[in-house]
């Protein structure tokens, strides 16, 4: 494993992770994915980081998994594959993850976006799940998270044809939240990240968890959980600081307590 595979850069409370294996179009091999999970877990534990931004390069966010690995796979090795565990670790990150996409996000690369919290993209971005063209199917949330995000017809079309959609289309269907000109995607994502990172850490964490619960539970249970998170925040110092700062017309100074 090469430590240069992921470039890490922190500014204020925003950590930017850049997928940096252009020679293989940032294909997410198991080792690469593992390294990413480690970076994310470290960031999740670091008190001076509020939000994580993941990006690729101008032509590729990440173009799928490592086909050579898949080529060697047998039923036995697929059954004991450690990838599902790594994906699970990524889904357990409690801090917001923003993905900033230029160029292609395909297969596992696209599934990484779906596992993130906010996707912003450049006009050049293309999103697709081409697994079907290889006699495979998405195996890391592609069939589940996509349909919840864009609805049945388009999700079926994308999974069954394997054809990619444009950034514009992705925004129309609510898959991504913003489109920027390519050259401004990363810094726009970082600005967005900074706005979030400046909010009270516990509130951000609880809000993310509450939103994610919407995918996991019925409405009535989700509403109950939301209320619990809400009540818990009532006991935090930051809540008092946030409201006081609002009345006193000043910027709040959050401590994460």
């Amino acid at each position: 494993m090469d430590t240069n595979w992921i470039l890490s850069h922190q500014e204020n409370r925003v950590l930017t992770l850049t997928l940096n294996r252009p020679e293989i179009r940032n294909a997410l091999s198991t080792d690469f994915l593992e390294l990413l999970a480690e970076h994310l877990e470290q960031a999740d534990n670091a008190t001076d980081i509020g939000v994580i931004v993941i990006t690729g390069n101008s032509r590729f966010f990440a173009a799928g998994a490592d086909l050579k690995e898949l080529q060697k796979q047998t039923v036995a090795s697929a059954t004991t594959d450690r990838r599902p565990q790594i994906w699970r670790r990524i889904s357990l990150i409690s801090k917001p993850i923003i993905t900033a996409v230029n160029g292609y996000a395909l297969g596992a690369g696209f599934e990484l976006l779906l596992a993130s919290d906010i996707i912003v993209a450049g006009e050049s971005a293309r999103f697709g799940l081409p697994e079907i063209t290889l006699g495979l199917m998405p195996g890391a949330g592609g069939t589940q998270r996509l349909i919840r995000s864009v609805g049945k017809s388009l999700a079926m079309q994308m999974v069954l044809t394997g054809e990619a959609i444009t950034a514009k289309k992705a925004q129309q269907v609510g898959l991504i939240s913003e489109i920027y000109v390519d050259d401004l995607v990363l810094e726009s994502a970082q600005k967005l990240a900074l706005r979030i990172a400046n909010h009270a850490p516990l509130a951000v964490r609880s809000a993310k968890a509450a939103l994610n619960n919407a995918q996991e539970t019925h409405l009535s249970v989700g509403l109950q959980l939301e209320r619990q998170y809400f009540v818990t925040l009532a006991g935090t110092e930051d809540r008092l600081e946030g409201i006081n700062a609002f009345f006193e017309k000043r910027d709040p100074q959050f401590t994460g307590q």
């Binding site: 920027y180 000109v181 050259d183 401004l184």
Partner: protein, 264 residues
Amino acid sequence: MPNNPMILTKIEQGVLTITLNRPDRLNSFNDEMHRQLSDAIKIAERDDTVRCLVITGAGKGFCAGQDLNDRNVSVGEKAPDLGFSVETFYNPLIRRLTHLPKPIICAVNGVAAGAGAAIALAGDIVIAAKSASFIQSFCRLGLVPDSGGSWFLPQLAGHARAMGMALLGDKISAEQALQWGMIWQVTENEDLVETVDSLAKHLATQPTYGLGLIKKAIYSAATNTLDEQLDLERDLQRLGGRSQDYREGVDAFLNKRTPQFKGK
């Protein structure tokens, strides 16, 4: 390149000139010519020293669109899929020209018909010789203006004139096209080459990166709302303000000297 290239290219002082070169067929397209043109445009896309693109035609015509001899359709045969050629050749061509972040001059030396008219109008600055003409010939064959023709016409000439041109297929003279605001300039026939040449050389010394941003802004305006366009202008200005040429331009202005733009 084959011995008898259908596309000629020449780079001089930052200007890439692409000449459509099937003069005996009024420079109409067949598939091979499309492939050669695609290679030529690749030069404009990849070579940083190219800072202006000129497209013109060899001989009497600019471009007569699709070469119908290449089509071989006769009554009773299975219908061809014209959408395939549009999707494979014409649409990518127009997309690449309109997305090219460098100025394009179309020097319309003669008749521009069908897709040829659309290609001529896809230039950022269109200069026509007095004898040139524009013909939306599709309606005479039961077809639709393609290669962006049905988009450029109402954009450039307005709804009423677009309809007239597209439904009647009449020949529009260079003078008429100028009056209708479809093109930038008309020259005497013998002056076309020189006019285009000096304008192209001027553009090739200008802040190319900024010109590319302008192209993007103008093309986006056709589909954006004012609100969206204001946001886009903000973003493009942000990028323009970071260019070397912007600093050079401001510095030259303040020091009352001629700016030396690098295009970056």
